[in-house]
Symmetry: C2
Subunit: 404 residues, 2 copies
Amino acid sequence: MATSVDPRTGLPVVAMVGGGQLARMTHQAAIALGQSLRVLATAPDESAGLVAADVRLGDHRDLAALLDLAEGATVVTFDHEHVPTEHLRALADAGHRVAPGPDALVHAQDKLVLRRALHEAGEPQPAWSEARTVHEVAAFADDVGWPVVLKTPRGGYDGKGVFVVDGADEVADLLERHGSLLVEERVAMVRELAVQVARSPYGQVAVWPVVETVQRNGVCEEVLVPAPGLDDDAATAAQELAIRIADRLGVVGVLAVELFETADGVLVNELAMRPHNSGHWTIEGSRTSQFEQHLRAVLDYPLGATDATAPVVVMANVLGGAASADGWTGPALDERVHHLMAHWPDVKLHWYGKGQRPGRKLGHVTALGTDFEEVRARAVAAARYLADGVVDPAFAFAFADDEH
Amino acid sequence: MATSVDPRTGLPVVAMVGGGQLARMTHQAAIALGQSLRVLATAPDESAGLVAADVRLGDHRDLAALLDLAEGATVVTFDHEHVPTEHLRALADAGHRVAPGPDALVHAQDKLVLRRALHEAGEPQPAWSEARTVHEVAAFADDVGWPVVLKTPRGGYDGKGVFVVDGADEVADLLERHGSLLVEERVAMVRELAVQVARSPYGQVAVWPVVETVQRNGVCEEVLVPAPGLDDDAATAAQELAIRIADRLGVVGVLAVELFETADGVLVNELAMRPHNSGHWTIEGSRTSQFEQHLRAVLDYPLGATDATAPVVVMANVLGGAASADGWTGPALDERVHHLMAHWPDVKLHWYGKGQRPGRKLGHVTALGTDFEEVRARAVAAARYLADGVVDPAFAFAFADDEH
């Protein structure tokens, strides 16, 4: 139960480090619970900074800013993994509740720490090693075969900090630039899956259906729910894996477990301990969204039901495309939103309010229904139209009607 | 299409007069659309003032405050009907878009104006008359029979400004206090219904299912969706009635038409031209919520799909009860929320962040399902627990488990 409350409302105050779209959508969920999310943003025009009532400006690497954020808050949580561990410990030492705690969060911050922990737990993961020298990488590749995947242990996301290398001659430069690296076998994967589970300090867990995530260039483009064609036993096993990891690491909040599906089962790729792109579909597609559930979990509230609200849900990211590039002469954003609403009245839009840049996650759309192909086509066409101004031929009739 | 946009986002800015729970929930919807609702609140701790990023403090009767609110906004809309008509005209004269416009809104502000307009339109309504003298009331009652209902034309809500009188001796005092009154027959009603329709300036309309509203002491306590036992023809007729009224009055935004169901059909009680308590169920129960739809309508965006997301939806208001009264020694609000979540993990909470006072609308809960009695029992028990700390015997086992 919450230990401190906002005297104006009698309800807790969750403080979130980071002002991106995850904080923005968490604020929406907080409003329903009678709360108002307190946000630490680096600039007032960050996604959450534009919409939250209680925005503190400051850097997540600045302990003074973190202490100011935590003052009077019930609990401090995160929309990214970039807060230094020593600052997390300093917050806890100052009597502030931090969720997830530093000992859990480090597994989402440092891929080497994660690999060691999963090894100790006996959980499935790719073959891996820590590599400080070209010789160590080459020796590892002798075992698993080239190419291998080199990863910076910290700081990578959306494909950044991940390098597929075909031979030893590419390794020296990477080691020189990044220091010690994680080296992994290149997994022969069928596809990528993800499971989200929420865990409260009390130990309650609630898991959502296993989803398929479709990536392009290391960035998530689509999430298909439930993962098409995954049999019940495999789905249950993946959910149990996620629950075991959440329990073992003492996660508090929402945990996303990213998985490689292979011919021999699933392997853990990496973890996120916060609301995650693979769970945006839950806003409309689950009785409890990941954002509400994260708040409930970090507050040690009982968790909400995770029942699906439709047989099929597809989330498609809007990644900055042609319409975000310099020199774009097509319809402006407001006009594209207008067209989107006209042609897909049942697609739900989530726009993050960020500056439009090619490749940037600018928003997402969610479609619900019963037929996978139809739902997926609808979501992808709507997202593509927002990003690129491209009209899918299947929907061109609707645009033609506009000319009348 | 929007005529002005926020330069930070390229998207419109909707300004709402009033900082209550309707503005609060509209802000949630605005966030998804890439927007941030600008709110005119009378105090910083008003419901929407606690959660919105752009809050202006001022009074809705102060033209300067209204003009400041409108400056740079795409359109001005309302969370209540109390802005003076001359101020609405002044805003429009200054070049600001106001939705709904003053000529439409007056029908939600003044019950006499509404009665005259419905009379001219030939729409069904109770027998009525304008009464300035006891004699006029008595003459009207001679026609329709005592008791009759006297209503102040302006300013009433939630049963305030409505007086059921049994004889002429009660009338003089009311006329003296309130001046000219609307007098209506006391309708022999079966129950109260409501229909919501959204209309855009372009003329597009979208209607939700007809709902039953359950009132106690003039205050809405429950909304049952769809109205139980209403046959399809009657439901369609009520929806068509709402669309006709929206069209004829030139409504822009969401219109709630409150109806009396009688043995001979429906009669129009009154109108609201804004998101309305009878539509809170749409947040989870409809593909497009009334709050998102209101934004779409006032911006002249195409309207969203109004398909239901579940066969049965019940919304129950949390009206300040025993737990809001002085001397309450039971569980505090945060603890009651905790229990609510434990026992009804699939009930959705919406808490408005307002000070707790007996009788005040403090929040609402929504339950979804397939069986009317089960869904209704769940919603009502959850709302009652929050208000009164009373455990419905049907759920007592769950509370007993807490003792372990």
